[in-house]
């Protein structure tokens, strides 16, 4: 039994509602992603204020000057939400890159070699896999301490087993295919077989898992930083801003809570729509399995 990615689950929900093969959903998802990537890359140009400086009175409700209001330190919430995209996307991309960078080679080797090495590695990966992801990330983040790379590593550990499992199982089945046997018979080296025949076969799965993994990474990052395990303040971060905003919930400062949350939700929806579309494109048969 496999844990499902948020994107995967959302993709199911979305195709329940709109049916499959809806290209416009992929398009909308891609638009949302491009929007956030632009926000992240050009935040200094887009954001009206410096996100880490006091620019107004504390806890100003949204008005013409600060359309998302200000936080307890008088910082512009809009600017912080815009800059928050940087951290969210950066950590998500790094985490996914690390998870794939570790999980894919291990899966390739483990599936290819087989034997006791494979069994031990599979057992370890399964154990990590069975653990509630966020709690595992919390444990690692607690040991590693704050910092972009540390958080990314904590998140990556949670998702490495997914890459490992997907790739390992595929390799194990591709390995016995006729053309691989033929290549071997013609004297191809292990390394060549792996890179020339097996890797191209599992590449589509890697792409799909990568795209699905991003929304989860963003959710996990938001959770970690909400719990105070993210990057150090005052760097703008949606999860951290939410936990900071919660301290002023009694003053009815709803704007500090609403906007970072909406940012997380839309970016997660965007990634999900996009990856679902990509999934259908690359893997048209995946529907039949569900």
């Amino acid at each position: 039994m496999r844990k499902k990615f948020i994107s995967e689950r959302l993709g199911e929900f979305i195709s329940d509602l709109f049916g499959t093969g809806t290209g416009w959903l992929t398009f909308v998802g891609a638009l949302i992603l491009i929007f956030y990537i632009i926000l992240a890359v050009f935040s200094p140009q887009i954001a009206p204020y410096n996100p880490t400086e006091r620019v107004g009175r504390s806890l100003t409700a949204p008005n013409d000057q600060f359309i998302f209001g200000t936080d307890n330190l008088g910082r512009d919430v809009l600017s912080r939400v815009i800059y928050g995209a940087r951290i969210a996307l950066m950590i998500a991309f790094i985490a996914v890159a690390i998870a794939a960078g570790v999980g894919v080679p291990l899966g390739l080797i483990s599936g290819f070699i087989g034997g006791p090495f494979d069994r031990v590695l599979t057992l370890i990966m399964d154990a990590i896999y069975s653990f509630p992801g966020l709690i595992l990330a919390i444990a690692i983040a607690a040991v590693l301490g704050p910092g972009v790379i540390n958080i990314a590593v904590s998140i990556a550990v949670v998702y490495t087993p997914t890459y490992f499992r997907v790739i390992r199982n595929q390799v194990a089945s591709v390995k016995s295919e006729l053309y691989v046997e033929a290549a071997r018979a013609l004297g191809a080296k292990n390394y060549e077989i792996l890179m020339k025949y097996i890797f191209p076969n599992v590449l589509p799965s890697i792409v799909v898992v990568l795209s699905m993994n991003l929304a989860d990474a963003i959710m996990t990052e938001a959770g970690l930083s909400f719990l105070g395990l993210g990057i150090a303040p005052p760097t703008p971060d949606w999860g951290f801003d939410l936990s900071n905003g919660q301290r002023f919930v009694l003053s009815k400062a709803w704007w500090g809570l609403l906007y970072p949350g909406i940012a997380i939700i839309t970016v997660v929806l965007g990634f999900s729509m996009f990856s679902e579309g990509l999934n259908e494109l690359i893997n048209p048969t995946i529907r039949e399995r569900r």
């Binding site: 039994m1 844990k3 948020i6 689950r9 959302l10 199911e12 929900f13 979305i14 329940d16 509602l17 057992l123 370890i124 399964d126 154990a127 990590i128 069975s130 653990f131 509630p132 992801g133 966020l134 709690i135 919390i138 444990a139 690692i140 607690a142 040991v143 590693l144 301490g145 959710m219 938001a222 959770g223 909400f226 719990l227 105070g228 395990l229 999860g239 939410l242 936990s243 905003g245 919660q246 919930v249 009694l250 009815k252 709803w254 809570l257 609403l258 970072p260 949350g261 997380i264 939700i265 997660v268 929806l269 999900s272």
Partner: protein, 335 residues
């Protein structure tokens, strides 16, 4: 196979998993860069103090000895002593566990109720508004971070409407004899209605927050499986015997739809626990999740390790229980 031998087999099969989990936790918390002693004492402590602490914690022994000490301790139920409070970690966890249990059970029930009833009725009225709204609900609820949902409910019901408290388990002015630690149960068995009402009010927001988040999965599964079951021959046969629509829907279709759902409940429980950590923090709920977050703040490593081990065991135990329930619901598993 009898139910009893099924249960025993299931438990034996879980043992290697538990062992690997314990090894993993040990390695993550001990081997990964970062020195727990320095973390406890801070970088500026004198060398002798550091060495003494290292000895006290058994960290000067070879790693393999440390590992077996650790396994032995865990087997004895000894999770060490909190460096923050000097209390045994196991006792602290034991005190806080009922709060987490109460929250997760309550949330689970909410998720099941929403999932079963909405899912069943949606399946019965496929493609009608009730069904379509269920599908829209699932999308949004699943994209929402649980803590943000909690914050929004807090704002709405706690701050603006003032209907419900925004944190804690019991108002300070209410007295209650604590027996099981499950306050709802405690207030019931002592016939303390005032406390029952107060406890329920505190439980409602965090319970609903956590429950809603996993309800979407149940909702989808109940709905889709029920739609499938409603097309089965045995439903048609039940209809041909003149059974009432409710009996056909709940007694036959939903009941059978539940068989595949039970098998994935264990997975949902892991999700529920991760959500519980965030929910407990959002609502200052004094359970294991907020305990873990609190101890991380103070870098209380024995307590962190204890809490993580506890979560790991909890997940394994729940998955065993769910398999057993599954065997009870679906007799085919047993035979």
């Amino acid at each position: 196979m009898s139910l009893k031998s099924y249960i025993i087999t299931r438990i034996i099969l879980a043992l290697p998993m538990i062992l690997v989990l314990l090894i993993l936790i040990f390695f993550i918390l001990r081997i990964i860069p970062g020195d727990p002693v320095l973390a406890i004492l801070g970088g500026k402590a004198p060398v002798e103090v550091i060495e003494a602490k290292r000895h006290e914690l058994g960290l000067d022994k070879p790693i393999i000895i440390q590992f077996f000490d650790y396994l032995g301790d865990v087997a004895k139920g000894d999770l060490g002593v909190s460096t923050l409070t000097n209390r045994p970690v196991w006792n602290e966890i034991k005190d806080r566990f009922p709060a987490t249990l109460e929250l997760t059970i309550f949330a689970f029930i909410i998720a099941l109720v929403i999932g079963i009833f909405w899912g069943a009725e949606a399946a019965w009225r496929k493609d009608k508004p009730l069904d379509i709204s269920a599908r829209v609900y699932s999308i949004f609820i699943y994209a929402i971070p649980v803590f943000w949902l909690g914050l929004m409910l807090q704002l709405l019901f706690g701050i603006y409407l003032r209907w419900l408290p925004v944190g804690g388990r019991l108002s300070p002015r209410v007295s209650l004899d604590i027996k099981t630690g499950l306050l709802l149960l405690d207030s019931l068995i002592t016939w303390n209605w005032e406390a029952f009402w107060d406890v329920l009010k505190h439980l409602l927001l965090p319970g609903i927050t956590l429950g809603l988040v996993i309800s979407s999965i149940f909702l989808r599964m109940v709905r889709n499986n029920t739609v499938l079951m409603l097309s089965k021959d045995f439903v048609k046969a039940a209809k041909a015997r003149g059974l009432k629509p409710r009996v056909i829907l709940y007694g036959h279709a939903v009941r059978n739809a539940f068989v595949p759902i039970f098998t994935i409940m264990g997975m949902q429980f892991a999700l529920l626990l991760a959500g519980a950590v965030l929910t407990e923090t959002t609502f200052s709920w004094p359970g294991i999740g907020s305990y873990l977050v609190l101890k991380i703040k103070y870098r209380d490593f024995p307590a962190i390790q204890g809490a993580i081990i506890f979560f790991a065991l909890f997940v394994v135990i729940i998955s065993i229980i769910i398999d057993i329930v599954n065997a009870l619901v679906d007799p085919r598993v047993r035979y």
